[in-house]
């Protein structure tokens, strides 16, 4: 709806203590934050807690948001840091943030092109493939493609240099291409050529 107030309007009202504005902000941005948290943490309960934590932080630091900038990257940044902190607490080798070089390709080794075509929903494969990336890369991929943020916005959200973001995205895409090669090979566009 064109009548829907902008984030800047809602934040201005929220800063003045308008609960209705807060509720609109929560309803508008919870899906994105929860998606990112779920993809990064891979645990529904942790993702819910992280989502809640992001909004608590948001309420605390709302005055620091520059209203001339879009709100989603700012929230993405908070989500990123909340997730990283939570991952840091979990002594889980699977969530190692610093070992992105080798991926476990074993689960996709059985994916012949025929088998891949037979899978009804390619999204399941994509989800599995993305899940094999390190947590930071999962976050970058989600923010960049699913949330449609630019490289610069992703860099702002993660505090990384833009070139670092591009390099990491490049590596993540390379890894995904390997994992998804059966699906990518069967892409309709290729058949159309």
């Amino acid at each position: 709806m064109s009548d829907s107030p902008s984030d800047a309007d809602l934040v201005r009202r929220a800063r003045n203590g308008d609960p209705a504005a807060w509720r609109q902000l929560v309803r508008r941005h919870t899906p994105m934050i929860h998606r990112l948290a779920l993809r990064t943490l891979r645990n529904p309960s942790d993702a819910e807690d992280a989502t809640q934590e992001v909004f608590v932080k948001m309420s605390r630091y709302l005055d620091t948001w520059d209203s001339t900038r879009p709100l989603p990257p700012w929230l993405g940044k908070m989500t990123y840091h909340v997730c990283l902190r939570r991952l840091g607490k979990v002594a889980d080798a699977k969530n190692d943030l610093t070992a992105p070089d080798t991926l476990d390709l074993a689960t996709s080794s059985d994916l012949t092109p025929e088998a891949a075509i037979a899978v009804r929903q390619a999204s399941d494969l994509v989800t599995r493939a993305v899940d094999q990336l390190p947590a930071q890369d999962r976050f970058l991929i989600d923010l960049r493609y699913r949330e449609g943020q630019s490289d610069v916005e992703v860099a702002e959200a993660t505090g990384m240099n833009v070139n670092t973001v591009r390099t990491r995205l490049f590596r993540a895409r390379q890894a995904l291409r390997k994992l998804l090669s059966p699906v990518l090979g069967a892409h309709p566009e290729e058949n159309a050529r």
Binding site: R23, V26, V56
Partner: protein, 150 residues
């Protein structure tokens, strides 16, 4: 007019970057022309195809649903939750009071909160309520009948 010569085949990372820049629409028209000319090289065409396919797959992932109750929990945590049950009951209570007022005092006192059903209910109950509320003794039946006939 000579078209700008195709760029020499870049190393894989820069090729990938070019493909991404091309898909992001951040190339200059000249770069676009050069890149499109380079698509005759199978590696470039393949890189573009894979990038398009990968983007398509990533962007088309189904949205995950927000768990039931999460938004309400966040609102409660922030102290901005709507006072659900109290507010939900309030209009009904207001309507009931309004209907009662109408029954006792007449339509002039009706409140905007009373809905049609409440008005109808109070319309039916009003005469009985009035009769029951009288202090003076009821007139005999024949007098009441005469009054009705007049």
């Amino acid at each position: 007019m000579n078209p700008s010569p195709p760029r020499s085949l870049p190393s894989p990372p820069s090729l990938e970057e070019q493909v991404e820049d091309y898909l992001d629409g951040i190339m200059t028209p000249r770069e676009v022309r050069a890149f499109e000319a380079s698509l005759v090289a199978p590696e470039v065409a393949r890189a573009l195809h894979e990038a398009v396919a990968l983007r398509s797959l990533l962007e088309d992932l189904p949205p995950s649903d927000v768990p039931d109750g999460l938004i309400e929990r966040i609102e409660a945590e922030l102290g901005v939750a709507e006072a659900g049950p109290t507010r939900a009951r309030l209009p009904r209570l207001r309507a009931a009071l309004s209907g009662a007022a109408w029954a006792f005092r007449g339509p002039a006192q009706i409140q905007s909160g009373a809905d049609d059903s409440m008005r109808a209910a109070s319309l039916v109950s009003a005469p009985f309520t009035r009769l029951m509320a009288r202090d003076e003794p009821r007139p005999p039946l024949w007098r009441r009948l005469l009054r009705l006939g007049a």
